[in-house]
């Protein structure tokens, strides 16, 4: 098929490319301004304690210190859902909780001042395991949450906000099953998505109730909204978003450090910069939620699911801002992945005295699937069903439905992914390599290879609202106003492509406004792979609206009706007679023509990605090497080939596939301290250990927008972890069910080392 597009689908340089390769891109910490001072946080050494007294006099008296704030000095700003967690509190709830804030002329002075603050604590018993936290008599983190259970549901998802999956008749489903398996499975290694750029902010307070924030976050407009709510709907925030040095979900929310900087600016009258150290980033910024499922599944011999029943426990750490949303979306995603008529999956979110969990790529679904696919695998093995065939068969098909996050039922109206998944299997050589459950695909001395497969899909590609303006100018240029920050996906460039395609204007004639909330309309931001469909739809609509308005202005000058006109390269012409044309400036050099576009949420399309993995394990050392990954998806229409390739390659990083091999946050469950809060002890994949990676991308047009495309980027991390466990199980010939599959764990399964006895369940062993 010949491509009818001039820009869409073409590999083009990113519009920020020169800045990035020359070091000219201004990330948050590169911004300087007159009078800038620096903020630092004094953090609790205890996982649970009451502050009996704080003496800040010595710190406040240090030369160069501009302000010191404790819980006694700050307004009752609260985060958490529902609002539970004060910005500074008399009680500290994890090792790293904020005790005091200091602003000073230099970072060094601020750090010195932290040492001069004297705090008297009354140490309280702490709880660091979710089942322990639920027991009667367990230490209580909040009076508001009896039994440490976080209130389920999310107000902004509406009154029916999804809390559980309950439908059909599970007893009937189990009666119909040929096999039933049950057990407890977890994904509890709380990996850190760990973007290279630490969370940070610059805040400038303006009396009486305004603040301007410079941010390098994933969704700068939402910072404004979040802070409005955190401050009890009192604060009018302007956010100026710049390039975001990685986020992977995590920097969608930075309400704490943002609030600290605002309060310090309010106290000092100066702009305050706060940037976390890498140790703070690893030890005090949000982690993946911890997930533990205890469930039964019923399956027929042909791989048809008949019932799923059980409980899903989610450890959110010391507070939850978004965990309820992640549970809601995770439940929706499980239904998309596993068609089943009978469900009774009940969920509980628990607070414990560790660092909080928050948003990470995979948003609940990765956590839930990484826990439940091992259970489904036990059933598949009993009836001898090939996992690829099972996952392909049970993924949502056109006409099927699911309860999404708002608790409403949606009927899927997208493409059937079967062909795309078959293409992936073919490229991987699944049929040739699959030798059956718990059977290696090959054995060569001490090296054993195994394969596995995982899948993920979500209906968040059409989540939430977006708005945009497109301004057509008489100089033959256009400008896009969209409050989207560039966080690595290249979407700011892709939206320019969409405008270029609608207006048939060379892309270098189109610019995009800074992601400033003062000048741009509402934008939820790029998350959940919503950029291509949701944001793209708003951008396209704005460009189409501007084009229509331009034709209305110019039609009389061409003695034609607006619908008879078209435009290319800054000229408007008669479709019937392209020779008859006038430049855009014929509208008058003293005017512009602005279109508006808005996207309304739509949960009837879902995206899909399948990851095939091959691992090799060394039975002497226990080391698991990832040899090969093939990712298969269908995106309707590729917008930007190298950008998509990068997104899919991202399956390895940011707490994705590698969270099954070596990535973990090691929490000492007796003291509450994180033991690997640095980039040497927190393991990450380097250039010298890159597996072969291939993307098999189909393009079956979706009924999304005029380019028939949907996004997929967020999902790339999600199918991998359970696929790796499956592959390792097959390579060893025994089930392995713990993340990550460290050499020690492999050797334990092989019977070569003895199990370690530890207090408490789950987590780092």
């Amino acid at each position: 098929m010949t491509d009818r597009y001039r820009f869409i689908g073409k590999s083009m340089r990113r519009n920020d490319a020169t800045e990035i390769v020359t070091g000219g891109a201004r990330f948050l910490n590169d911004i300087k301004m007159d009078g800038l001072i620096y903020g630092k946080v004094l953090r609790s050494p205890h996982p649970h304690a009451l502050i009996k007294g704080i003496d800040k006099s010595k710190a406040a008296g240090l030369k160069g210190v501009k302000g010191v704030l404790t819980w006694e000095d700050v307004p009752d700003w609260r985060g958490g859902t529902p609002r539970s967690t004060r910005i500074l509190d008399r009680k500290v709830r994890y090792v790293g909780d904020a005790v005091a804030l200091v602003a000073a002329e230099t970072i060094e002075i601020a750090k010195e001042a932290l040492r001069l603050i004297e705090v008297e604590y009354e140490v309280l018993p702490a709880v660091l395991d979710m089942e322990e936290a639920l027991k009667p008599g367990a230490p209580q983190l909040y009076d508001q949450f009896p039994g440490n259970v976080v209130t389920p549901g999310v107000p902004f998802f509406g009154p029916k906000s999804l809390k559980d999956i309950v439908m059909g008749d599970v007893e009937k489903g189990f009666r119909e099953a040929d096999v039933i398996t049950e057990g407890t499975f977890g994904y509890e290694n709380i990996p850190n998505p760990l973007p290279p750029e630490q969370p940070g902010v610059i805040a400038l307070w303006e009396e009486p109730n305004k603040a301007t924030l410079w941010v390098s976050n994933q969704a700068s407009y939402m910072d404004k909204i979040t802070l409005f709510h955190v401050t009890g709907r009192k604060l009018d925030v302007r956010t100026i978003g710049g390039p975001c040095g990685g986020s992977f979900g995590s920097k969608f929310m930075s309400w704490q450090i943002q609030s600290y900087a605002i309060l310090l600016s309010r106290a000092t009258g100066k702009p305050v910069k706060m940037v976390m150290s890498k140790e703070e980033h690893l030890a005090t910024f949000t982690l993946r939620p911890s997930s533990r499922i205890t469930a039964r599944v019923g399956m027929k011999r042909d791989g048809t699911l008949t019932a799923v029943a059980g409980t899903w426990l989610v450890d959110t750490g010391y507070y939850s801002m978004t965990t309820q949303s992640q549970v809601a979306v995770g439940c929706g995603e499980l239904q998309i992945m596993a068609r089943c008529p009978n469900w009774d999956l009940r969920n509980t979110i628990v607070c414990t005295n560790r660092n909080a969990s928050g948003i990470v790529r995979g948003f609940g679904g990765q956590e839930l699937k990484s826990s439940i696919i091992p259970l489904l695998s036990l059933a598949m093995e009993k009836v001898n069903v090939d996992p690829f065939e099972f996952l392909k068969k049970n993924f949502v098909k056109p006409g099927d439905g699911y309860f999404w996050r708002d608790g409403l039922w949606y009927t899927y109206r997208g493409v059937d992914y079967t062909k795309a998944l078959d293409k992936g299997a073919e490229r991987f050589g699944w049929k040739e390599k699959w030798k059956g459950w718990l059977t290696p695909s090959s054995v060569d001395g001490i090296k054993r290879r195994g394969i596995g497969v995982g899948i993920h899909g979500n209906a968040d590609i059409g989540e939430d609202a977006s708005e945009a303006y497109v301004r057509i100018q008489p100089d033959g240029k256009a400008m896009l106003f969209s409050c989207v920050t560039e966080h690595g996906t290249g979407q700011r460039s892709n939206f320019l492509k969409m405008v270029a395609e609608v207006l048939q204007l060379p892309i270098d004639q189109i610019s995009i406004a800074p992601a400033d909330s003062l000048i741009n309309p509402y934008e939820f931001g790029p998350a959940g792979s919503r950029g291509t469909y949701a944001i793209g739809s708003a951008v396209i609509a704005a460009a189409e609206d501007a084009r229509k308005k331009l034709f209305e202005i110019l039609a009389p000058k061409l003695q034609a009706d607006p619908e008879d006109l078209d435009t290319v390269d800054g000229f408007v012409f008669l479709k019937a007679n392209p020779e008859k044309r006038i430049p855009w400036k014929a509208m008058g050099v003293d005017r512009t023509c602005t279109g508006f576009g808005r996207f309304e949420p739509d949960y009837s399309l879902t995206t899909c990605i399948m990851s095939f993995v091959e691992v090799e394990l060394d039975t002497e050392t226990g080391k698991v090497d990832l040899i090969r990954v093939v990712n298969a998806t269908d995106v309707g229409k590729v917008i930007d080939p190298p950008g998509l390739e990068g997104q899919l390659n991202g399956c390895l990083g940011s707490a994705g596939i590698d969270s099954a091999i070596f990535e973990e946050t090691i929490l000492d469950r007796s003291t509450g301290h994180i033991l690997n809060a640095n980039m040497i002890d927190y393991k990450w994949r380097s250039f010298s250990e890159l597996p072969s990676i291939e993307s098999v991308v189909s393009e079956t047009p979706f009924e999304s927008h005029r380019f028939h495309a949907v996004g997929v980027g967020e999902l790339a991390t999600s199918p991998g972890p359970s696929a790796v466990l499956m592959a390792v199980s097959n390579a060893i010939g025994k089930w392995v069910h713990e993340y990550p599959m460290t050499p020690e764990r492999v050797l334990r399964v092989l019977g070569k080392v003895k199990p370690k006895v530890r207090k408490g369940k789950g987590g780092a062993a």
């Binding site: 590999s11 990685g246 990068g646 390659n649 250039f687």
Partner: protein, 173 residues
Amino acid sequence: MKARNKAVEERRCIRLMVNGNPVELDVGEGPGSVRTSDTLAHTLRETLGLIGTKVSCDHGACGCCTVLMDDRAVNSCMTLTIECDGKSIKTIDGLRDPATGTLDPLQQAFIDHTAFQCGFCTPGMIMSAKALLQENPSPTETEVKKALSGNFCRCISHYQVVKAVMSVSGKGR
């Protein structure tokens, strides 16, 4: 090194070349001076305003802050500025041709291969690759991976970075 540090102490200033320009910095506590505890990354960014060099882990693990010191790649967050007396430092800010603004072929290759996603680690990647190419103008893929093994990237730009560096391998400096 000790003798040089002693000379620095006596002179109370250090002299170095940064991106081809001579720089003289007083050693002391005042504004614009270099404290003995200042890292090269700090001096480049905060004292000289060369913000192209990024700091991520600030303890030598991630390679974001890589610069060239006498043509060798170093972690500028682990290098004390007072130890740079007499050295020639090259940073990402000075990699393009200063007169014409033409990009270094390596920078152009990164653009052509979209060898970045968020771009935060990119300056360090380019400087590590530059050091390799200066020492070995025709590296193999394995040599490229080895030279970049100290550079952290979380978006997983690695594959496109390797392609970009290989595209200039064997094409001179």
